[in-house]
Amino acid sequence: MTPSTIVGVADLVREALDAYRDDPASVAALQGYARRLEEPLRIAVAGMVKAGKSTLLNAILGEEIAPTDTAECTRIVTWYRYGHTPKITLYPVTGEPRSLPVKRVDGRLVFVLGDATADDVARLDVEWPSPGLRDMTLIDTPGIASLSEDVAARSTSFLTPEDTPSEADAIIYLMRHMHASDLRFLESFKDTEAGRSGTVNALAVLSRADEVGAGRIDSLLSAADIAERYRRDHSLQKLALGVVPVAGLLAQSARTMRQSDFEALQLLAGMERTEREKLLLSADRFVRVAGPEGLTTAARTALLERYGLFGIRLSVVLIRNGFGEPTPLAHELARRSGLHPLLDLLGRQFQARAEALKARTALVGVDTLLRTSPREGTGALVAALERLQVNAHEFRELRLLATLRTTGTSLPPELASEAEGLIGGWGAASHVRLGLDADAGPEQLAAEARRYLEKWRAVSENPLTDRSALEVCRVVVRSCEGVVAECSHLAAQPA
């Protein structure tokens, strides 16, 4: 994000505050936008009921704090943000926020609502000293297509409000299979904000990937195939920046593996093969049939709960193949669970353009305010807003990305896909844009960027290139120039 844009947005919000100083509701909203610009990026975790939202959230944090259950569990929108000491605040629909006691059972939080029901609570705010929360605020939402319509409605109205920008700057959308409800929701999420600012800011996750192939060892490979199919699916492509398969439970447990877990898994791995296979035939058997010496029923139940049948099967195979220490095993499990690609994608798509996403939310908010309650003297504001929207290169990139993915352009396919990469479609970091490895040096990057720059200049100067394609070229050229400038700067610095 160029500093000028973020400053421009902050200035705009300040000016708007000035113009609306006598309207307390607008002032509160605008102050909220101003604050949001300072805060970490807000990423909501959304999806159908039981898609594994809370589990994935725990996996991303590397800590089991969000409560999870077999029955529908999350009924209240819950925010997880960074704080030096654990603290839970309850925001009721009406009335003053109040503090809740921090109570944990087996590490997980228990929200003691007291006499309030889920309907009375607007949201819960959890402050937690987790390093993962330093640069993003995660929001756990109740499931869509829930049987209790109130719960589903709460999620939908939170994520896709009618007349204000969404509380979330971006979403991770979890789905088990691409269901009609999923697409409908993603479409409406895109509609609310992107309909106005024309961008895509959702990431799709094929969740519970370990269950795809009935818990077979190769389940994750099948899941990867399916994710690949979804990635190519036209209807999803325009709604999400990418699709990754993740085995949430495995990821969560791998990141929080305990010594006792490892010892139990080691015992299992030491069993005779046919015996072990019999034991691992079904979840019921695993708990009921007497296992190896030293593994109590309670321990087996706990293990099953934390890793699932698939996790246990995979761990045993890994241990037998030489992962004899807890740390490498945990790493390997986390790697296989698909969590790393997800974190990677999060970093590339969201963190790298956090400023732009936040600024965009603020702009949408100011825009809505200016449109719904215009007053005298806001004309200049409207003009400034428009200038920002049109000129800020980051927004143009996001907008172009959406166009490339939805309606397409008149560019030939190979050029279009190159353009998508260069404007940051696969990630905003320079080396990702250029399609190079992460360890490429600044000189190499600069050289590559210059090569692209020349190529795209040539395309834009070609008289046969039509107008809509020229727009694309302009944005791409500008992106290349940005990369060249950045890399030259980097290359010059150490010298």
């Binding site: 159908m48 009921v49 039981k50 077999t70 029955a71 529908e72 297509a145 829930s146 049987l147 319509e149 589903a152 088990r176 299979h177 691409m178 269901h179 009609a180 409800s181 697409l183 409908r184 479409e187 409406s188 895109k190 509609d191 309909g195 519970r208 269950e211 795809v212 192939g213 009935a214 818990g215 389940s219 099948s222 899941a223 195939d225 399916i226 199919r229 036209h234 209807s235 035939l281 079904s282 979840a283 019921d284 058997r285 695993f286 708990v287 139940t301 099953l304 709960e305 699932g308 049948l309 698939f310 939805t406 309606t407 397409g408 008149s410 046969l464 039509d466």
Partner: protein, 652 residues
């Protein structure tokens, strides 16, 4: 060969016994002139020889429907895949040897009637390439169904298991296909896996399906994978109880069952939960269907004996009490006149039926039109909001889905009303219990099939050449105009001024043309939507109307036949009584003896049939799962659409 679990052979004894009963009846009717009775018994016999009990397996995709069937029959009958697997319904039924076939519509035939479907045998190993999403994505090969024949004891009773493509997924026309197949199904297995409780779309489908077939069994699959399946089971039971009383729920693991049959491990088999499900299918579903079958057979035989006895009895009466004959004849004549009334076109039941059907057709058309009009309005609003060109493919998909959803609502409602109407008609037949006609209207298959795909819309792109031409058209005038004007001042035709004017006018022309093109595309899109929905109204309306006419015809035939037989018997009795009065004494004795012998046979048969009927009634009483009696009120009027998904989503 792996045996299909602890399955007892399904009562072939009872069947043979029934067949014998019917044959005895046929013998009694003999070669006499009562051809009508003979025909009826022949029909009964044919039904008995080829029983078919259809169980359809439905559920959202990826719930393990195909694997459930495979585990039921212990054979890889339906293809299973980690990604979406089934794209064409697969029918699994009994056959002496394992084989497979596909059903394809005959070429150059319009409708999908039974007669127009061709059965083509295929090697069983090749079946997946026809019915799976991988081999036949989205059923591009246009198959009606796949069929698998397996020599399994479970299937011998006529049990037919149908694997359906997943509903509720991306394609709501699958839901429609499944719903249209339901009226011909004897039961439905709703499969949902143990990873989570029922979701809202699943329960919505269940509620809709319950209105068509009340015989529903819940199946919770994949219990081997989820340690917490008992909790899910409990929660699901709660959900089911809210939909209807006593819908049974079985928790099973197909993997365990397949593993059990591989290892020949009875304990594992018990653990898989399948024995319970199989017992239920055998005792409740197959058993119930067989009970119905037995009841209808025994009733047929009973009614034939009644008819036979009537004329014999009256003849005998006339011989034995000649003085009462005129009185008796008068009584019979009166009954005959009444029966005659029932036969006539003007009979009250006929009027009820005809009126009912016309009302139903009118209501159905109104309902369909009303639903589609709403969609049309929404679509037009959406088109007005933006350029329909670039999003046309998504838009037409949305439109298709909405139309399919609307049609399935109309369909459910219509079939409910048709059943109710048949019951209304039956009320006119006061005499004992009249069997309701079995409305096995061949399922319409894809009601949407004859509707052509949405035509494509010009996506609004203009290639550079066209652009140049459009611009030229404008600039040509400009150049000429200004060139001539400046020519007055002695300048050349092409001079800086005229070129400038040409450029300006060219741009203006281009912009105007662009706007005009957008307007035209919007108008065109609206016309296409209207035409498409008109097509849908027309075709589906026709299909539904045909269906209702078929209902009308089969109902009428059914009741007319009853009336005919009744009338015929009365007429025979009158004739016999009259003839008896004019007979000589000697012949009389012989005839009386004959009649008595006949009557004895008839009575024996009636007693046997009566015994079967009583047995069935006792069975049913034991099972006591009789469906709730239908109220006299017609089903509530067309349920209006609760709300369409936002059309705006399709046209950004």
């Amino acid at each position: 060969m792996a045996d299909a679990g602890p399955v007892k052979p399904s009562t072939p004894l009872a069947e043979a016994q029934l067949a014998k009963l019917v044959e005895q009846g046929l013998e009694l009717v003999g070669t006499g002139d009562r051809l009508d009775l003979r025909k009826r018994l022949d029909q009964t016999l044919r039904r008995l020889k080829d029983p078919s009990i259809r169980v359809i397996v439905v559920g959202e995709f990826k719930q393990g429907k195909s694997k459930l069937i495979n585990a039921l029959v212990n054979a890889p009958a339906c293809p299973v895949d980690d990604d979406i697997a089934t794209s064409v319904p697969t029918v699994v039924r009994y056959g002496e040897t394992a084989s497979a076939a596909i059903l394809v519509p005959k070429e150059d035939s319009e409708s999908t009637d039974e007669a127009n479907i061709e059965r083509r045998p295929v090697p069983i190993a090749d079946l997946p390439s026809y019915v799976s999403e991988r081999g036949n994505p989205g059923n591009t090969k246009k198959l009606v169904a796949g069929e698998v024949y397996l020599p399994r004891k479970l299937l011998t009773g006529g049990l037919t298991v149908i694997d359906s493509p997943g509903v509720g997924g991306l394609n709501s026309s699958h839901t429609l296909t499944t719903l249209t197949a339901l009226p011909t199904a004897d039961a439905m297995l709703l499969v949902s896996d143990a990873s989570q409780e029922y979701t809202e779309p699943e329960l919505r489908f269940l509620r809709q399906a319950m209105r068509i077939t009340p015989s529903v069994v819940g199946v919770l699959s994949k219990t081997d994978l989820y340690p917490e399946w008992r909790r899910v089971e409990e929660i699901d039971r709660g959900h089911l109880a809210q939909v209807a009383q006593d819908i049974p729920l079985f928790s099973v693991s197909s993997d365990l069952r397949l593993e059990a049959s591989r290892l020949q491990d009875a304990e594992l088999n018990a653990e898989s939960g399948f024995p319970g499900l199989i017992t239920h299918i055998r005792d409740e579903i197959v058993g119930k269907a067989q009970r119905l079958q037995r009841r209808s057979v025994s009733q047929d035989v009973l009614s034939v004996t009644e008819n036979l006895r009537l004329s014999l009895q009256s003849e005998l009466e006339a011989f034995e009490n000649p003085q009462n004959t005129p009185q008796m004849i008068a009584g019979l004549e009166m009954a005959k006149a009444e029966a005659d009334e029932l036969r006539k076109r003007s009979a009250r039941w006929q009027i009820t039926l005809n009126d009912g059907i016309s009302d139903l057709i009118a209501d159905m058309e109104y309902d369909l039109r009303d639903r589609l009009r709403r969609i049309q309005r929404e679509a037009e609003t959406a088109i007005d909001l933006g350029d329909p060109g670039p999003t046309w493919s998504e838009f037409s998909q949305w439109l298709e889905e909405c139309a399919a959803a609307a049609i399935s609502d109309t369909f459910v409602w219509t079939s409910e009303r048709a059943q109710w109407l048949a019951a209304q008609v039956a009320e006119h037949f006061a005499e004992d219990e009249v069997t309701l006609p079995v409305l096995h209207v061949s399922d319409t298959g894809d009601a949407l099939d004859p509707v052509d795909d949405m035509p494509t819309l010009d996506n609004g792109r203009v290639n550079p050449m066209q652009k140049v031409l459009i611009g030229m058209r404008g600039s040509y005038g400009g150049v000429l105009m200004f060139g001539l004007l400046t020519g007055i001042f002695g300048m050349a035709l092409i001079n800086p001024l005229s070129v400038g004017a040409g450029l300006l006018l060219g741009r203006k022309a281009y912009r105007e043309d662009k706007e005009a093109r957008l307007k035209r595309r919007q108008a065109e899109a609206k016309a296409l939507v209207r035409r498409q929905l008109d097509d849908v109204t027309f075709q589906v309306g026709k299909q539904l109307k045909d269906r209702l006419r078929l209902v009308q015809r089969s109902t009428r035939d059914h009741f007319t036949e009853i009336a005919e037989v009744h009338h015929r018997s009365l007429a025979d009795s009158v004739a016999a009584a009259q003839k008896a009065a004019t007979m000589y004494a000697l012949e009389k004795d012989v005839r009386i003896r004959e009649i008595k012998a006949e009557l004895k046979k008839v009575d024996t048969l009636a007693r046997a049939a009566g015994a079967v009927a009583a047995e069935v009634a006792a069975d049913a009483g034991r099972a006591s799962r009789a469906a709730a009696p239908r109220g006299p009120e017609p089903p509530a009027g067309p349920a209006r659409m609760a709300g369409l998904p936002k059309a705006v989503a399709a046209v950004g």
